[in-house]
Symmetry: C2
């Protein structure tokens, strides 16, 4: 690395350290006492898979508001533990939503992250139960029984996550998605669907990190929320682009699925080139929101790096 | 009413007043902004149906530890609101579990409370989503955004409910149930399954009420938990008895289902007469636990009345 970049943020090192913390906490969260079939299905759904974008957003936002996540001291710091617990919680909600979405009565998908989906491997009943138990486990993570985090932070995080996951958020977006197959949605309707379906949980991820040391000032909280909202939509636009430009092996899931199932997407609505431009525009919006936060470039380095990853990803 | 009973606890009046509070709160909890299909499926699952045993246990336990639930003053009292929110939350978890249990990949039941099950009426995808959203809504109820309840109570209630609902509780019991169809369980194994599958949520109901004014002393909390644990098992034994003694019209669900599906039950294990005696024994145990709480007979009147209802119910 040249001298001039020696102070630059090392995203690879940062994300590897953070993910190691999340993986360890997730592993400890599903203990050996779980009934074998259920425990295995839960672990299969959550461990060793996925990009962990949401947990990284939680931790990057926590760091932006000053939470120290260094591994050596994390166990003594309530705000660091609250951030790591929230990182696990949001990943558990994401994981349960994938398990249920893949089921035959929803998307009926057999491949996820290059592996058989949970209902293919463990049966539909276990997949249904595993999803249900993963959702509950998310709220367990937010309310540790050892007084290691502040109850005010616990309550705030639960409130944010429950609303982002439920009918005003992710489940609501899923319902709109279900109802819109084969319908000619306009851009406003498509945006609204995605703001709920995937956007709510991505936005919540940033908010969970932002409140992990207590409620931040309104300017910071709003700016980080706006960052996440733009990024969440960018994420979806890129998803739609990759669905037509990438192959199944690269994606780790069935490519071309949206077009085949006649679902409205940004590509079907805007065309491929305009969809790609729209993703760039949203990326710029997300960075502008960070500028408006009043936080230092150093504080928001991890958030900026994540935003870049979202737009440039290949799967 | 004769003079000598004029001070007796009027369960009918008490439960009608309490249920009106719960119904009103539940109705307000699913607002008109919900996507139509999802909102309707959620309301269908939750409103105007069921015995509301769990909410009543929450409120009876809250009353036992001194929470004043009188309708005129309830909105000014954080502990009363925390109890009512928890009553809704536990009913939402119960409702979601029924929606998912009835689905084709689980029990494949078409009749519930005398009406078509949710997936029959709204389709499997909406039933899956509605269940998921109802679980999230339970945690929304426990974390109101208007600072009307104490954050320490919110955090405690979320911690209790998440653990009772998840893999260490209800979902874990379901998984054992799934794995045990056709297997010759002994009484200890059957008890363990039911302690999780239905017992965890019933016990949690009492605990949620008991913490709604802050953590009670250990003697009271343990005694109320023991009460609920015995009652929860009694509830299941009575369920098994009714499955063979009542008809579908009275039950509002398909009678004889357990025997037909070769599921182990207390009746198949002990025989009908012994199962009935066992329910009585558990009922006596539950009352003995209340005696050990040190709470007055007046304070525990509603809990005693509910225990009696559980054992004497005909559906």
């Amino acid at each position: 690395m040249s001298e001039q970049f020696s102070n630059a943020f090392n995203f690879k090192e940062w994300s590897e350290e953070r993910l190691a913390q999340v993986e360890q906490a997730l592993k400890q969260g599903i203990d050996a006492q779980a009934p074998a079939g259920l425990g295995n299905a839960m672990r299969y759904s959550v461990l060793d898979g996925g990009k962990r974008l949401r947990p990284l957003l939680v931790l990057a936002a926590a760091q932006a508001v000053g939470v120290d996540l260094e591994a050596a001291t994390v166990s003594d710091q309530p705000s660091a533990l609250a951030a790591i617990h929230a990182a696990c919680a949001v990943e558990l909600i994401h994981a349960y939503s994938l398990v249920h979405d893949d089921m035959p009565c929803m998307d009926n998908d057999v491949l996820r992250r290059g592996k058989p989906t949970v209902h293919v491997k463990y049966g539909e009943a276990q997949a249904l139960l595993a999803g249900d138990a993963l959702q509950a486990l998310a709220f367990e993570f937010l309310t540790p029984q050892d007084a290691s985090t502040e109850v005010s932070v616990q309550a705030a995080q639960v409130g944010l996550l429950a609303r982002a996951a439920g009918y005003e958020g992710m489940c609501g977006g899923q319902a709109i998605d279900l109802a819109s197959v084969g319908l000619p949605l306009n851009e406003a309707q498509l945006r609204q669907m995605h703001l709920l379906k995937t956007g709510a949980l991505l936005r919540c991820s940033v908010q969970l990190g932002a409140v992990s040391a207590g409620k931040p000032n309104t300017q910071v909280f709003e700016a980080l929320s706006n960052f996440a909202q733009a990024l969440g939509l960018a994420f979806q636009v890129v998803d739609d682009v990759l669905d037509v430009t990438a192959d199944s092996a690269t994606l780790g899931k069935t490519a071309g699925k949206d077009a085949a199932s006649d679902k409205p997407t940004y590509v079907s609505l805007l065309g491929l080139t305009e969809a790609q431009k729209f993703a760039e525009k949203l990326y710029a919006e997300s960075l502008a929101a960070l500028d408006a936060s009043g936080l230092s470039a150093n504080a928001t380095a991890a958030l900026r790096a994540l935003a870049s990853q979202v737009v440039q990803r290949k799967n």
